[in-house]
């Protein structure tokens, strides 16, 4: 049975893990503490965040090999996919921002959706050779 426990000779107080809520004065520097949940890094050290481990792609043919590959490469796959998504969003942000900023001062004659960099690209790019694949 859960019990309310007050050790003898102790003043009654509170905190995150106790009943009372008036032990500490509320000051602006602590006003939003309740919006955060403290993570016990020791208790959570080896505990998975989720117990859902059903991965469809592992259940098909060559399950063992797929599992081995996944176990070894999952960190790199996760890191790489995170990085690629971040890079793509950054690219989108750069292009989109420049386009909007450029619209405030003018527009592209051949396609009004293009920003200045894309519109003027080719005018000043003197690398016109199509033979060198890397340069192209």
């Amino acid at each position: 049975m859960p019990t309310t426990y007050v050790p003898i000779n102790q003043p009654i107080g509170d905190g995150e893990d106790v009943i009372d809520t008036n032990r500490f004065t509320n000051i602006p520097e602590t006003q939003n503490f309740d919006q955060f949940v403290t993570i016990d890094k020791i208790a959570e050290e080896n505990r998975p965040l989720s117990v859902d481990s059903d991965r469809e792609f592992l259940n098909s043919k060559y399950r063992h090999y797929r599992e081995v590959i996944w176990d070894r490469a999952k960190t790199f796959i996760t890191l790489s996919s995170t990085a690629i998504v971040i890079g793509c969003i950054a690219g989108f942000l750069q292009v989109f921002t420049e386009t909007l900023v450029n619209w405030k001062t003018g527009h592209c004659q051949r396609n009004w959706l293009l920003n200045k960099s894309f519109c003027c690209n080719g005018v000043v790019n003197e690398v016109t050779s199509t033979s060198n694949l890397l340069l192209k």
């Binding site: 509170d14 208790a43 965040l49 989720s50 999952k74 995170t82 890079g87 969003i89 420049e98 960099s117």
Partner: protein, 643 residues
């Protein structure tokens, strides 16, 4: 020159006319700001601001609202951010880049590693992703890694695994960006420049002056910004959209008539940083800033000089009022822009009155000024030096850069400023955060107190054996007074004793998930016994028994009552635990949580030193009465007529 050529060929057509370019500029500025703020207000409120403070707090061990790193926040931040920047508001995208990158890291790791991800490994991924956000925003991969180390994970362990993950994510992210080639010139950042001319020792006093400016900028802009945030909370919180619209209109109106304010900040910095090559028509860079020399007419000189000074002052003031408005907004680049215009103005003076033409590199002064203000506002040193170094590749300017940043840091330290704007925002917003540094005065104050004075002694305990139904009512009864996040487990033998012995600690979250996994109906729950410590053999192999031993922390950190609070603080910080049990001779006396100690620390600080931030309420009231008067003038009167 490339831009001129493009316009000359008729590919890019600037808006023509006397009035229409101004109207289009104003309308688009306001429209972009409106869409941005509406998206934030009605779709994803968590996408506002830069988010660095919240991420710092999260990484330090206090989990924030899950929506903060959710998919919707990611999408809205990615769309509203370009809109906010292109509206011309004095906000940057580098801070919010940390937020969207962290969202990506959080969502993808949670999805891909859902069966193995633990909280401790999640921190590593979040830190790595946040670093990549800075890396792609500045085009500085190593700077991004260092940002994760110096800013985000400063209160947390930054081990070699996190370092490697940060390095790898930054590398792949920047390579992806390079492949996308967003500016179609092979570069990943607009203000990427290189310098050929070396600096001279005689310039050091000017570098020191730039450093002083950076320190003062950091001190006063953050202070004024915090004051304005207080004013906003007090008087403007009901009109976030109107405030953004007003700011966008005001900014566009002022900026239109000043070249350095009118341009996008990164583009403006690109011009200011650039090294001028005199008498060289083959150079790809040409700007009227480069036409100035000692023979230039004083009027022309004054025109550009005042233009730069005006841009410095106005941008700084706009930063104060714009950072914190209800749009995604960073403060790094606007601060750099202020420093760049100031540095360039200084270079004009030096070139005209001290060194003469072609002796110094004026662009480098802008670059150093930008470094000073960036360091001033963030209170970062190593990260700023590396980011600026990566932007220019000018290894020869590493010493001036270090001098400038060091002077800035000294100015900030001597002014009593602790931490950058992100740290100050944590305090202003009242977020929990275990700081890595404590000043001596604070330490002395806390030294006088012990765990006994701080601990909570009215606790909810659970016996080591308990019926499932009792446990369920403890967790799910909404009217329950037991609104706690964890429970000490006590010995069965002490059930009716006044003093109990603690044998472990269990988190409410773990209890809830464990109970959810049991398929026991309500009738059976009344006879099902849950045991935390005893084995089924000890209970006589009885039926309807469930072992919860796996979720109990059998060795919670415990201390004696006389332990000083300073030691408790260090324990929380180093061990990363949520609670510390206070015992005396094996008897449970109380419990201290990480939030308890932070509350105690901040209250004691306030008692001894007064409030950390003081506001001029009288000035706020006066400002509000002026604003209120203006609003009344433009709103309808009783008869519905516009005055």
């Amino acid at each position: 020159r490339q831009e001129f050529e493009c316009e000359a060929q008729g590919l890019w057509i600037a808006w023509k006319g006397h009035v229409s370019p101004f109207i289009i500029f104003m309308l688009l500025s306001v429209l972009f700001a409106l869409i941005s703020t509406l998206l934030v207000k009605y779709v994803a409120p968590m996408a506002t601001g830069s988010g660095i403070s919240e991420i710092k707090v999260w990484v330090s061990g206090f989990e924030y609202n899950k929506e903060f790193l959710g998919f919707l926040t990611l999408v809205i931040k990615s769309v509203a951010l370009p809109l906010a920047i292109s509206s011309g508001l004095s906000v940057g995208k580098e801070g919010p880049s940390v937020h969207y990158a962290t969202c990506c890291g959080y969502l993808l790791t949670k999805w891909l590693l859902r069966d193995t991800l633990t909280y401790s490994s999640q921190y590593e991924y979040i830190t790595a992703a946040s670093g990549a956000g800075v890396a792609v925003a500045f085009g500085a991969p190593i700077g991004g890694v260092l940002f994760g180390l110096e800013e985000i994970a400063s209160a947390n362990r930054f081990n070699s695994s996190t370092l490697w993950k940060s390095y790898y994510v930054a590398l792949v992210a920047i390579t992806t960006l390079k492949y996308i080639d967003p500016f179609r010139n092979g570069r990943v950042i607009l203000f990427n420049v290189t310098y050929d001319r070396d600096w001279k020792v005689q310039e050091i006093p000017i570098f020191i002056a730039l450093g002083i400016f950076g320190g003062l900028y950091g001190k006063y802009i953050s202070k004024w910004n915090i004051n304005f945030i207080h004013f906003r909370k007090m008087y403007l919180s009901s009109w976030p959209v109107q405030e953004v619209l007003f700011l966008a209109t005001l900014t566009a109106l002022i900026s239109y008539f000043n070249e350095f304010l009118k341009l996008d900040m990164t583009e403006s910095m690109g011009i200011l940083f650039h090294e001028c090559v005199k008498n060289d028509n083959t150079s790809t860079f040409s700007h009227r800033l480069c036409q100035l020399d000692e023979n230039t007419h004083a009027f022309e000189f004054l025109k550009i000089f005042t233009s730069l000074c005006f841009a410095t002052v106005i941008r700084a003031l706009l930063v104060v009022v714009s950072y914190g408005a209800r749009v995604p907004a960073g403060i790094f680049v606007p601060s750099m822009a202020v420093g760049a215009t100031f540095g360039r103005a200084v270079s004009l003076l030096v070139e005209r009155f001290i060194s003469g033409p072609s002796v110094i590199t004026p662009g480098a002064y802008a670059f150093l000024g930008a470094a000073a203000t960036l360091s001033g506002i963030t209170n970062l040193t190593l990260t700023v030096v590396v980011i600026m170094f990566e932007l220019t590749g000018a290894f020869m300017y590493i010493i001036p850069l270090m001098i400038v940043v060091a002077i800035t840091r000294i100015i900030l330290s001597t002014s009593g400023i602790s931490g950058g704007i992100a740290d100050q925002m944590i305090m202003v917003n009242g977020f929990p955060y275990l700081e890595d540094e404590q000043d001596e005065e604070e330490e002395e104050t806390l030294e006088k107190y012990t765990a006994e004075q701080l601990m909570s002694s009215k606790l909810i305990t659970i016996n080591e054996t308990i019926y499932l139904s009792e446990l369920e009512s403890l967790l799910y009864d909404s009217a329950s007074e037991y609104s706690v996040h964890g429970f000490p487990i006590t010995k069965d033998e002490d059930k009716f004793e006044k003093e109990k012995r603690c044998i472990g600690y269990v988190l409410k979250r773990h209890l809830a998930s464990k109970i959810m996994m049991q398929s026991v109906n309500s009738t059976k729950a009344q006879t099902t016994l849950v045991y935390f410590n005893k084995s089924n053999e000890e209970l006589g192999h009885r039926e309807n028994c469930i072992g919860f031993k796996d979720i109990m922390n059998e060795s919670p950190i415990s201390v004696k009552k006389a332990v000083p609070v300073t030691l408790l603080f260090r324990m929380f910080k180093e061990l990363g635990c949520k609670t510390i049990i206070v015992e005396e001779s094996g008897i449970l006396k109380g419990l201290v949580t990480a939030k308890d100690i932070l509350r105690f620390k901040r209250i004691k600080y306030r008692e001894v030193h007064g409030a950390k931030f003081t506001y001029n309420e009288a000035l706020d009231r006066r400002c509000w009465s002026v604003i209120h008067f203006i609003i009344k003038r433009f709103t309808t009167n009783r008869n519905g007529n516009v005055i």
